[in-house]
């Protein structure tokens, strides 16, 4: 089989270019996971149409869970990709920032009462205020990184340490509960629509970023700053401003993700909400084949990476892995993926491949 493919140069060339393409890594991972699930239990892919407790049609199944719960991750991956590309570092405070923005949403909705009968403010106002707050925290990170030239991971470590404390402080450490039905639509289902709402919100974010990348210079500027800050300054860009901007954009993404998160529960748990999501978001960027040291990026690959991570999580849950033990399996998969995608390993593998095929060719000639 393999010999024939090598003789056909066209096919070999096609595979070579496919391997080199960045999006190959997340797609390969996705395929591997899908095939694995297909072999173990084909019913994994079953989607059933059921009815919610209110009598509205609702689609359920593992695939629905993936696109539902992968939404926050995908939204975060958008911002994280930009931050990674521009500043060559990652924002590890997103989980804590989600806690803050979620806390702000609930604070505005509930006012001073922790269990109000009616909402104290329109939902859109609460959302907009949380956006402003999250962008301010993003601006704080951005200032430290861009203007004080502190390493991103270290600069965001500040908010990482303080974030959940601030979130608790915003609500006086109370656990407000929103009883309004409309609020749950954003993290659940809109009556009559069988597809979970977070997926639509994620789609909207993707559309916005796709348009921004297509019609503005955002992508170009971010990449040039990430590749060489000095020469982009010499070319008339303002690298500090661009880095700062990416952190503010990530802040916006955080606000959207935080809004979905609190809408799912109608409440908040400061120490648990969005726990370890920063790790997942960074992994999504890495899985998308983007260099974590900055420079060129591929947004589609990152978003796909986010869904791959969610796919993996769901698969592991399906196999009845304890949620606390989940991380061990995730780690093994991640290590396997990064090892395979490491340039050094790939080079060695290519050499090995050549040796095997070269040896065979020599044999067949003899």
């Amino acid at each position: 089989m393999s010999d024939r493919y090598i003789k056909e140069k066209g096919a070999a060339g096609f595979f070579k270019s496919l391997f080199r393409h960045q999006i190959f890594i997340p797609i390969a991972a996705l395929l591997l996971l899908a095939i694995f699930n297909l072999i173990v239990d084909p019913s994994f892919f079953k989607i059933t149409l059921g009815y919610s407790s209110d009598g509205y049609p609702v689609l359920s199944g593992n695939l629905m869970t993936i696109i539902d719960y992968g939404s926050e991750l995908a939204i975060l991956a958008i911002g994280m990709t930009l931050v990674t590309a521009a500043s060559g570092g990652q924002d590890i405070s997103v989980g804590a920032a989600i806690a803050i923005s979620g806390s702000v949403v609930l604070r505005v909705l509930c006012g001073t009462d922790s269990r109000p009968e009616v909402l104290q403010a329109p939902i859109i106002v609460a959302f907009l205020i949380s956006c402003v707050v999250a962008m301010l925290f993003g601006a704080f990170n951005g200032t430290l990184v861009a203007y004080f030239k502190i390493q991103p991971m270290v600069a965001t470590l500040i908010l990482f340490t303080a974030g959940r404390s601030i979130a608790a402080w915003i609500n006086n450490n109370e656990l407000p509960i929103v009883s309004d039905k409309t609020f749950t639509y954003f993290g659940g289902f809109i009556p009559g629509v069988p597809i979970p709402t977070p997926f639509f919100i994620a789609l909207l974010c993707m559309a916005v970023i796709a348009l921004a990348l297509k019609f503005t210079n955002l992508g170009l500027y971010v990449q040039s700053v990430g590749i060489n800050e000095k020469s982009s300054r010499l070319n008339g860009l303002n690298p500090q401003m661009i880095k700062f901007m990416t952190y503010v954009i990530l802040g916006l993404c955080v606000a959207v993700a935080g809004f979905i998160k609190v809408s799912r529960l109608s409440s908040i748990n400061y120490s648990v909400i969005a726990k370890d999501i920063e790790m997942d978001a960074i992994l999504a960027v890495a899985l998308g084949g983007n260099a974590l040291s900055g420079g060129k990026f591929n947004m589609t690959a990152s978003i796909l990476g986010a869904y791959v991570i969610q796919f993996l999580t769901t698969t592991l849950y399906k196999m009845e892995v304890q949620s606390a033990a989940l991380s061990a399996y995730k780690a093994i998969v991640v290590i396997a993926l990064v090892v395979l995608s490491a340039p050094v390993v790939r080079e060695k593998l290519t050499d090995l491949w050549k040796k095997i095929t070269g040896g065979k060719a020599a044999k067949s000639q003899a």
Partner: protein, 357 residues
Amino acid sequence: MSFSNKLRNRIGNMTDTNLLTSITIVVFIIMYLGAILFLGEGFLKPQTFFNMLNANAALIILSCGMSLVMITGGIDISVGGVTALCCMCSAVFLDHHGGNVIGAILISVGIGLAFGLIQGYLISYLEIQPFIVTLAGMFFARGMTTIVNTNPFNVVNEEFVALKETRIIIPFMGYVNKAGNYVNAYIEIGVVVALLIVAALFFVLKWTKTGRNFYAVGGNRQSALMLGVNVKRTTFISYVLCGLLAGIGGFVYFMHVGSGSASHASGAEMNAIASSIIGGTMLTGGVGNIIGTLFGVMSLALIQNIVSSVGLDQAWWTGITIAAMLCLFLVIQSIVMSRKSGSVSADAGTTADAKKG
């Protein structure tokens, strides 16, 4: 020459490492004096200081490893997870398999070493980003801890409890308690281990070839390579040492808490990074000092102590104050560095640092 001029000259001639470390030590002493002045007697008791050491012995060891890795320009966020795994494995070995203390120590050190070797190999020889590798390491360690044993439990092994209860009495430092009895000041065994490690690493970093190589690699990989330093091997060694120290730190932590739990040492990696940074180690590499790290840990402990004695005992204040302190130190570092690089050219600074450190 006036005093201020002299001081300025001294500071100008200082290496980055020494300058940042001095800032930390000065801030620590000022904070301690302030605490004694404003918060009264409690801080005058030597035991208060020793208690800070007792509670943070493991963190000191972890931070030392972290500093080593950060000096070479890398990062290791798996240390907290490894600590928890070491605790759990030792606890299970002691209680469920009737093991002895020596075996438990070997298990802890072995786990740490294994993590160090694997992560070091992946990072230095396969050139995968340290953040990703150690992130996966952390995930793996935390997950494995739960797989080894889900529920937290206290260890009842007699031999171990005896070791855990061992107190080293410091003469002449005790105090008379309210009942009128004289209470001896004490430290735990872990503190001795931690201080020995600090001393050993200080020696290694200052006077051995490997130690100097760490600074050279962290300062500038390319020029270190040109100068004939085995960059890959040096990086590898730094991660192995960090893993080993995480293992030792894990057992010291275990000796302090005496139980196994999946939530042990949660956030320890971030505390270790914060301590190293406060102690003057820069994440960019090439700058750092073990003594500074020791003071970094102690500063963190002191802040926590002050916060709780002021009466702000709500949990969130600790997080906020630590973050504020971290922010302050980072900004100071950033300003100091940009001023220095303004006066001396950046290249000269790096070479001088590689020479003197």
